[in-house]
């Protein structure tokens, strides 16, 4: 039996020691050396993608980028627990989850380059596109789960959100609906300790995981930088949902090692000592230590992992820079599913206006 009110669950120590937990171990008994190495590879690749995207923003190729640096284990561990038919409702920082779901790298940055309001078709990867309004997606996940419940399938919705989002009305209402209808949904809260400049203490005076039981939802509080604990907790929650036992709340305790977005400057509000402390809990370092002990890390493995990461970064860069700008008249596309005469008239008028400049002349650059 899983105790749903424990302190922080950790299955991998900072030193890379596997910590035995009889209640959790059965959920990750399949994690042999190669399986752990695969998780490590994912984490190295997504960190490399993240670094490359930040560089692309600095070089003016992206308008904005929300780094996930430090949250690789929380995202990879949870995403790799899912089945293809489960459905992800992310916030805007879940780019590692997107990678694990098979979203094309170019599609991940499409929205951050300002080319589109979303980068991929949600149905092709069973993952919704980024939700920027804080916490709104938790209700969407709950509704999707209500649908799965009515369809009598055992697919599960998982929604990602941060510590800050737990203050929004939408998130609290999602918890109430999920509990009321025992919906097959997982509330995966990455507590990264910071909502832009506000420390988690502004949002909560107790552990965030402690809130869920008040809504009638069991919760787990796990070390979010421990990919094994994350995988185990997500599998437990998925199993409950598939069995018809309703929602589970997971608080993955992690840390936003970078800025909120590339537009943010954490030196204005964050003690550098705190960041230094969290660097010692780096999710990649700790898994690397375990893999080294297991004999999985060889120079060849290191080189191959690095090559994989570099190739991903190169693909991202090429795809980003090579992305064509959207056609001007596409500004009118997809507003409605059905014809709209008012909008069509605006499109026609604007097309005529553009034509009045001639083919080489672009408006918007003065007369």
């Amino acid at each position: 039996m899983i105790d749903f009110s424990p302190p922080l669950v950790q299955l991998l120590s900072l030193d890379g020691e596997r910590i035995s937990r009889p209640d959790f171990d059965p959920w990750v008994s399949d994690l042999d050396g190669p399986a752990l190495l695969a998780l490590y590879r994912d984490m190295v690749v997504v960190r490399r993608i993240d670094t490359e995207a930040t560089a692309l923003q600095r070089q003016g190729e992206l308008g904005l980028w929300p780094p996930l640096l430090g949250q690789e284990a929380a995202q990879v561990g949870s995403a790799r627990a899912l089945r293809n038919d489960d459905f992800v409702f992310p916030s805007y920082r879940e780019n590692a989850v997107a990678y694990c779901r098979g979203v094309q790298l170019t599609d991940i940055v499409r929205v951050w380059r300002g080319n589109a309001q979303s980068g991929w078709d949600p149905y092709t990867v069973n993952m919704a596109t980024p939700a920027i309004i804080i916490g709104a997606q938790t209700l969407h996940a709950t509704g999707w789960a209500l649908g799965a419940q009515r369809d009598e399938v055992d697919s599960v919705a998982i929604t990602y959100f941060g510590d800050g989002a737990t203050s929004e009305g939408d998130v609290n209402e999602a918890l109430i609906f999920a509990a009321s209808f025992q919906a097959p949904v997982i509330f995966f809260c990455q507590n990264n300790h910071w909502a832009i400049s506000e420390p988690v203490g502004v949002q909560a005076h107790r552990n965030i995981a402690d809130r869920a039981p008040g809504f009638g939802i069991p919760s787990l509080r796990i070390d979010g930088n421990d990919v094994i604990a994350v995988l185990a907790a997500t599998r437990i929650a998925l199993d409950r949902a598939r069995a018809g036992d309703g929602p589970t709340f997971i608080e993955a305790v992690t840390y936003r090692m970078g800025p909120h977005t590339t537009a943010d400057d954490p030196t204005r509000y964050r003690d550098p000592a705190e960041l230094a402390e969290w660097k010692t809990r780096d999710p990649l370092v700790r898994l690397h230590r375990l893999l080294t002990k297991l004999g999985e890390i060889t120079p060849e493995v290191e080189a191959a992992t690095q090559a994989l990461a570099d190739a991903a970064a190169a693909e991202l860069r090429a795809g980003c820079i090579g992305m064509p700008d959207p056609e001007p008249l596409s500004v009118f596309d997809h507003v409605y599913a059905t014809p709209n005469a008012t909008l069509e008239r605006q499109r026609t008028d604007y097309a005529g206006y553009l034509t009045s400049f001639g083919s080489s002349d672009q408006p918007g650059e003065g007369r």
Binding site: L8, A195, V331, F332
Partner: protein, 350 residues
Amino acid sequence: MTTLMTPSIVSTVPGLNAPQPSPLSETTTLTVAKAINEGLRQAMLDDPKVVLLGEDIGALGGVFRVTSDLLAQFGARRVIDTPLAESAIIGTAVGLAYRGYRPVCEIQFDGFIFPGFDQIVSQVAKFHYRTQGAVRMPITIRVPFGGGIGAAEHHSESPEAYFTHTSGLRVIAVSNAQDAYSLIRQAIASDDPVLYFEPKRRYHVKGEVVPELGAPMEQAVIVRPGTDVTLLTYGALVSTARDAALAAADEGVSIEVIDLRSLSPVDYAVVEASVRKTGRLVVTHEAAQSGGLGGEIIATVTERCFSYLESAPVRVTGFDVPYPPAKLESHHLPDLDRILDGVDRVMGRR
């Protein structure tokens, strides 16, 4: 393991021990953002009941730094970093107002106001009417608005018409540093609730600021006189409209540019006098056309000045589309060329 459970280290706030700045005492050149900051500072010095609420307004000074250094000067009891909940920011401001406070709420971005929409429309706007004047709601809701900064979704919107459509609210949009300073002070001093829209893409534009309250906030201002066309706008587009007037002057068209300043109520005395003089009206705003403020103003002007009109009034607005991605926003936003195209139309040149 237990260290992971420790509450976050309290941040060292730069500037907490810095000397407190004195308020403006003479004409100073300030950015729009700094002018609002100085207006807030003066309002807080003038009235101890003025409190600020919002996300990241404390140590960070707001994502646009509009509340910079106010936490250091006035402390956390008056500069309140709130949890992330817009409905709660507005709803608790109602409670504070009940007790005689003058809350100033910051909504971080235009597109984030909607979780607080119910509290604004159903509560803030109606209290005075509901209680037959017994309960006043001197709440100011500051909203950075508009596009042109290449931002992500929900960061470039112009939601003003939702609020001008709501009786019981005053709505202000400022265009320059002087008005930013003067009108934030007037908005806070007002016994009615005020939506105060800040021209996001002009935050860093400098202008001279005289530390005075200036003309009442409900007055529109003619920022450039002219005789052929009345060009009416507000917020960030005032600057574009002024440029358009300069360009049109080269082609022999004299444009009178009006900065509306107050979107609710509209200063129709100034608007009508101008239209009676020019006989032609162009209204431009970034917000979508259908149901926008331009339509309302044109309808009113047409009712009152029909016989003075030489041509049908024209709207130059954002399209009836959700705010588009950054790479398309230059097409959506009215710019110099589109405004001049509108001028050509009222002049019968197209």
